[in-house]
């Protein structure tokens, strides 16, 4: 028994190291001066810290703009995905309707097509519609990508709130909307928050679609992808950190909701 616990502990440490060490190394490199970076052997402890690389990186063209674009698109995607996904998830959880199973399967199938396949028709359509190179266009794409998970997660959350509670609210004088707002929403909120953050991270990390659909109004990952390939090594580390850090912060926030996400523990 004791031995088994040790194995589990050891595995946990190994997995954590597997995730944490690269992040540490990237952070270290990003905050090391360019000269120190070229030393051999490279010191593994923060001995010669400098904000110079990071400062230059942040000042370079398109980075701050890309950051703003990314945040704008991410938040808009969250709002739009919830606006469409919540009612759909609710319908899936509460009502029996013709084609429900097909619909659920179809949701998953939308993710079956790789975005590379879709890129040309998508770019073409967006050009025709005048949506090319707009934040709105990228938001639409990201919403489409996020909707299946949003719908399936929220429907699982809504399933966790018994329908009888809603009925009780309506018996005691609530309209269907009031019953939803007063009874279902407060209980579903942690799950909805998790789903929202999930969507945000998805939008934040999505590179390919954003690269194809924009030219000037790039999101941060798209911008980095376009510019960093030709940049000196030091800036690639800085760019890597700029990409990892926000996602990391979101995951830290999401963490306590993650169990809720599958509707297992609503309380």
């Amino acid at each position: 028994m004791l031995g088994k616990r040790w194995v589990v502990q050891l595995l946990c440490v190994l997995v954590s190291l597997f995730m944490a060490v690269p992040i540490y190394l990237i952070a270290l490199a990003a905050f090391t001066s360019r000269e120190a970076l070229n030393q051999f052997p490279l010191p593994l402890l923060p001995t010669s810290l400098s904000g110079e690389t990071m400062g230059t990186f942040l000042r370079s063209t398109g980075i701050v703009g890309g950051l703003i674009n990314s945040v704008t698109i991410g938040l808009s995607t969250v709002v739009l995905a919830l606006a469409i996904g919540l009612p759909a998830g609710y319908a899936l959880a509460r009502y029996a309707f013709r084609g429900k199973d097909v619909y659920q399967l179809g949701l998953l199938l939308t993710r079956a097509l790789p975005i590379v396949v879709l890129s040309v028709p998508l770019g073409r359509t967006f050009l025709d519609l005048g949506l090319y190179d707009t934040s709105y266009g990228v938001t639409l794409l990201h919403t489409a990508l996020a909707l299946p998970t949003t719908i399936l997660i929220t429907s699982a959350i809504f399933l966790g709130v018994s329908h009888e509670q809603e009925e009780a609210a309506m018996i005691f004088g609530a309209t269907p909307l009031a019953a939803f707002v007063r009874v279902v929403l407060p209980q579903a909120l942690p799950g909805i928050a998790a789903s929202a953050l999930f969507t945000f991270v998805l939008s934040w990390n999505e590179v390919l679609g954003a690269s194809i659909l924009t030219l000037g109004r790039r999101t941060l990952p798209a911008q980095l992808l376009a510019t960093l390939a030709d940049s000196p090594l030091a800036f690639r580390f800085a760019g890597g950190l700029a990409l990892v850090l926000p996602a990391l912060i979101f995951i830290l926030i999401v963490r306590r909701y993650l169990l809720n996400m599958w509707g297992t523990t609503l309380r």
Binding site: F172, G173, Q187, L266
Partner: protein, 345 residues
């Protein structure tokens, strides 16, 4: 307020037969009416249609003379206790009880005093600031009842409110519920599958089967004079005994045994005889062999094998012996048509 349902028909999309089949029923003002029946008999569907949670295919529901068939639940002026309690886990007991008052926009001072009064009526005074998760099952049920009575509705609906409690708690709360509802005098429609609950709570009992009402009457009526075999077999523990007999020369003949009490006008025909376990005498001369004797404390329940098959006999405690002489008091015998299972009159 009296509640009247007329010709209610409901078929669920998935079901191939009617959940309620043309049911008409009237609950008098202040009456406690229990709908009882095996699962799937349509009792809950009927209650939900009165509540406005299901829409009938046809038929009407009137409450206090007002046709509410097309009205949503919130406008029907009723209140309900759910089987799963359906109390709100994210609200404290106080807010749970006061939910109906909040929705009716009752002023704060009155709100608190009414919540307080309902809480005290159900011994919840000390738990008002707790969350439901911190309460026991019995206490949650009390919250659900308090929430239902605090709104002072015209009609109180209860859907198997005691079925999730353990046996002891159920007995206690049953008596308490009867006291509380009796004091309020609210018209109550109560659904249960537990025949003991139905007998003990109801002013009248409606025994349901297959979407129809098999019999409607006072508990003692439906217990003592079942209108069909099903009712006798469903109500009572143990259920009524049934055995076929032949009517010959004014006597009932079972195998080689004959005794008095045959119904009139049924000469030379088969009849289904029903008798309650407590009405079978053990001081007679019809031979029976005791297969099992189960002392239950106040009485002893015998399983007796006789000419007519197996018979449950309830007798005084302390009974011993392996054989009995049975008697069937003619006044306690009930007769049913073997073809239709309906009672003979």
């Amino acid at each position: 307020m009296n509640v009247t349902v007329s010709n209610l028909v409901k078929t669920y999309p998935s079901g191939h037969r009617r959940a309620t089949d043309n049911i008409s029923l009237s609950v008098e003002d202040g009456e406690f009416l229990v709908l009882v029946g095996p699962s799937g008999c349509g009792k809950t569907t009927l209650l939900r249609m009165v509540a406005g949670l299901e829409t009938p295919d046809s038929g009407t529901v009137t409450i206090g003379g007002r046709d509410v068939t097309a009205l949503p639940a919130r406008e029907r002026g009723l209140s309900m206790v759910f089987q799963s309690y359906a109390i709100f886990p994210h609200l404290k007991v106080r807010q749970n009880i006061g939910f109906g008052l909040t929705m009716r926009k009752v002023p704060p001072a009155e709100w608190s005093s009414r919540v307080q009064r309902a809480a005290e009526l159900l011994d919840l005074g000390d738990y008002l600031d707790r969350y439901p998760a911190q309460l026991s099952g019995g206490q949650r049920q009390r919250v659900a009842v308090a929430r239902a009575i605090v709104v002072d509705a015209d009609v109180l609906l209860m859907d198997e409110p005691l079925s999730n409690l353990d046996a002891l708690l159920r007995m206690q709360f049953r008596a308490e519920l009867k006291k509380i509802v009796g004091r309020l005098g609210t018209t109550t429609l109560y659904v249960t599958h537990d025949q003991a609950e139905a007998m003990s709570l109801g002013d009248r009992v409606a025994v349901m089967r297959d979407g129809t009402i098999a019999q409607l009457g006072t508990p003692m009526q439906v217990y003592a004079e079942p209108a069909e075999q099903f009712v006798g077999g469903f109500l009572g523990a143990p259920p009524m005994n049934f055995f076929p007999a032949l009517v010959r020369e004014g006597r009932l003949v079972v195998d080689d045994v004959a005794f008095d009490g045959a119904p009139d006008g049924w000469e030379d025909r088969k009849v289904l005889v029903g008798i309650r376990a407590e009405n079978v005498g053990v001081d007679g001369d019809i031979p029976g062999e005791v297969e099992v004797a189960e002392p239950t404390g106040a009485t002893t329940l015998l399983t007796v094998r006789w000419a007519g098959g197996e018979l449950k006999v309830q007798t005084a405690s302390g009974f011993t012996g392996s054989s009995v002489g049975l008697t069937f008091p003619p006044s306690a015998l009930r007769f049913f048509d073997p073809d239709t299972s309906l009672a003979l009159h």
